[in-house]
Each structure stands twice: as C-alpha cells, then as structure tokens.
Amino acid sequence: MGEQDLLIQRFLDDDLTPEERVAFLQAVDADPSLRRRWLNLELVVAEAAQLPRLAPSARFLAQVQAKLAPASISRWDRFRAAFTVPRTLEWNLAGAMVAACVAIVAVVGLMRFAPERIVEVPVPAAGNQAQTASLSPGQESKVFVRLVLLQPDARSVSVAGDFNGWNPGQTKLERSEGGMWTATIALKPGRYQYMFVIDGKQWIADPLAEEGAGDGFGAQNAVLDVAI
C-alpha cells in the first residue's frame, strides 16, 4: 500500500493530525487521481453504512425460547449438574499459599506416618534381630530387619554393609534410652555382610551376629541371612 493510499485510509478512520489533514486535503485538491481513489473509498464506506438490515423472522424469538426451556429437569440431572456445572473459583495469593502449605504437610505426613502394610510371619531367629516380612502389593517381597547395638558411650552409630554399598553415612542408627542404638532396614531375602561404625571411625562387627566372615583384611564382618 503506497503512502498516499495509507493517508486516504487514515483519513477515513479520522486518524490524521490536523496538520496531516490539511496536507491531505490540499493533495486531494491538486491530484485528480488521488481524489478519485479517495472518493471511491468514501463511497464504499458510506454505502456499507446504509446496507439494508434484515429483520429476524417472526419465529426467531419463539424458536430461541423453545430451545432454552428444557423438559422438566429430573432430580438426578439437577444432582449431577451440582457436580458438573463449571463454577468460577476466586482466589488470592495468600489463600493459594495456605492451601499449598496444607497440601505439602498432608503429603509429608502421609509419607512419614503411613506404614506399608506389614504382616508378621514366622522367620528363623537370627541373633536378636527382629525380622518382619513386608507384603506391599505389587512389590518384590522384602523383610524388615532390626539391628541393635548397645553402645552408651557412642555419639553416633551407623551400619555399613552389602546392602548399602558399605557407606557408613547412609544408614544411621537411632539412640534410645540406656545407650541402645537401633535401625530397621528393609532387605530382600539374601545374605549380607555388615559392620557397625562408631563415631564415624571405629568399625566393629555386630557382637550379636550368629555368623561372621573374614573381610580379607584381618577383621570380621557380621553375616546376616535374610529369608521369608
């Protein structure tokens, strides 16, 4: 679209500054071709504004109202509508943050306190380790094994073994009354060697383990047999 055509269009939209308007009208006065183009466009606009209006048919309103009025709504439809009709929810940031916090607390609480379904099954006794089978649906069977060490002078106790890559930082025992340290770990049935680690530096075999095995470095690992 040329510059002059654009001016015509802006003139039709009453979009020119007073100075531009004066310049445009002077140009139109001097240029017959520009004048003709402008008048043709003015005619289109004027004729469009005068186009005849259709009147809706006599039945139009009745047809709309007939479609509006449903057959008597059943109680079931009203009940269903109460749940399915879209509603506008108004919210503010404070309310949204409170709701988010409540949701987070609920999820964390569930994860912490809701145990897997645990069923007690008779298992061969191994030292004083209590074993409990876990029968979470859809999962491979695991056995909960409780490890116990009496070490009143220790500041920290952890266990390292085949089940945690011999990483003493991974499985820490918790201290309870009387200097008793305990941890409960879930293990698949199998045979595991392990040691306790006292204060992060002293490695000792489980004194209560029934079976031991040399570690190849002159020390003894405890051996744990886990079976369902």
């Binding site: 939209d13 004729e47 139009f60 309103l61 709309v64």
Partner: protein, 193 residues
C-alpha cells in the same frame, strides 16, 4: 449501523435475572440484540437461513455461558464475540460453492427502516449498489470481511473490535484497509463494465 446504546444497568438487570433461569428476562435480551446478531451473521455467511440458525446458536451459547460473563465488558461485545466465532466455525466447515447470497435485495429494501423519499431512478441505483456491495463483501477473505463488517456495517470502534476479535488494533486497521480497497476496486470495475 451501530447498536443502539443500551444502559449497562438495563442489560445487567436482565442478565442477573437470566442467571436465575428467568427465561423471560433472557428473551428480552434476545429481542434487543436479535437484529444485530442476525445481520452480522448474514454479512459473514451470506445466507439468511444459515444466519438465523447461527444467531440462534449464538444466543443459546450465550445463555449457557452466562455464568462466565464478566460485568466489566459490555454484553453486546461479549455477544458479538460468540457470534463471530460461530460464523468462523461455519465458514471453516462449509464446502466451496455454498453460502451464496440468497436474499432478494428488493425485498429487504422494502422491509427496511428508512422512510425518506427517493426517485425511482435513484432507488434502482441504490438497490443495484447495495446488491453489488453485498456480493462483493461476500467475496472478501473472511478475515477482511469480519473486520470490514464490524467496522463499517456494525459501526464499531477499533477498540471494541480488538476486544471482540482478540487481535490488536493495528492488525485490524490493515484488514479494514485491505477490505475497503478490494471493495472499491470491485465496485469501480462493475461500474465501468
């Protein structure tokens, strides 16, 4: 011809009553805007029967969506938006060759509102121009057509059109410009022919 200005409070009262399933109140809204919506649809699709069907669908959709209507915007703007979308859907779905104008322009002019006196020659000329312009509008690409119709047939401002079509005003201006140009060229060619 622009929509006659309605007090916002008049429409608002009818809307509130309509939300309580007062069909008479919604019927009054339909009566107020039926002519405007039918004419918009007719200019967009070029077929009177289809235009009335689309207008009815517009009002039914408006009634169902009434709970989502925001009082900050004008009811007419909201209704226009629904109508334009219905027309676009119809245009997208129609096969080529359909949607040809079927209204007898003479019949429409006789039923028109204007009452000024005209000479027979002048009336014939106006009828011819109106018919030619109607057909030429139907030949505009849909985007130019909707912009031109809303601007020059419905008499809306670019701000209102922006709200209805969710397109910025500069783009709408270009569409209107191009629509005018095409119509102007076609009418000139017809006169010369």
């Amino acid at each position: 011809m622009p929509i006659e200005h309605r007090g916002v409070s008049d429409d608002a009262k009818l809307i509130v009553r309509s939300l309580k399933h007062d069909h008479d109140a919604f019927g009054q809204l339909v009566e107020r805007y039926a002519t405007v919506i039918v004419n918009l649809a007719y200019r967009m699709v070029g077929d009177r029967t289809e235009a009335e069907d689309l207008a009815q669908e517009t009002f039914l959709a408006a009634f169902k969506s009434l709970p989502t209507f925001r009082a900050e915007s004008k009811f007419s703007t909201w209704l226009y938006r629904i109508a334009v979308n219905k027309c676009k859907d119809w245009l997208r779905a129609k096969r080529p060759g359909q949607g040809v104008q079927d209204v007898d322009v003479d019949e429409v002019l006789d039923a028109g509102v204007a009452a000024e006196e005209r000479t027979p020659e002048r009336l014939l000329s106006q009828q011819q121009v109106a018919a030619q312009l109607d057909r030429a509008i139907q030949r505009l690409p849909p985007l130019y057509r909707e912009a031109f119709v809303l601007k020059h047939v419905e008499g809306l401002s670019y701000e209102e059109m922006q709200e209805i079509l969710s397109v910025n005003a500069d783009t709408l201006k270009m569409r209107v410009y191009k629509g005018r140009l095409q119509l102007s060229r076609e009418l000139v060619e017809l006169k010369e022919a």
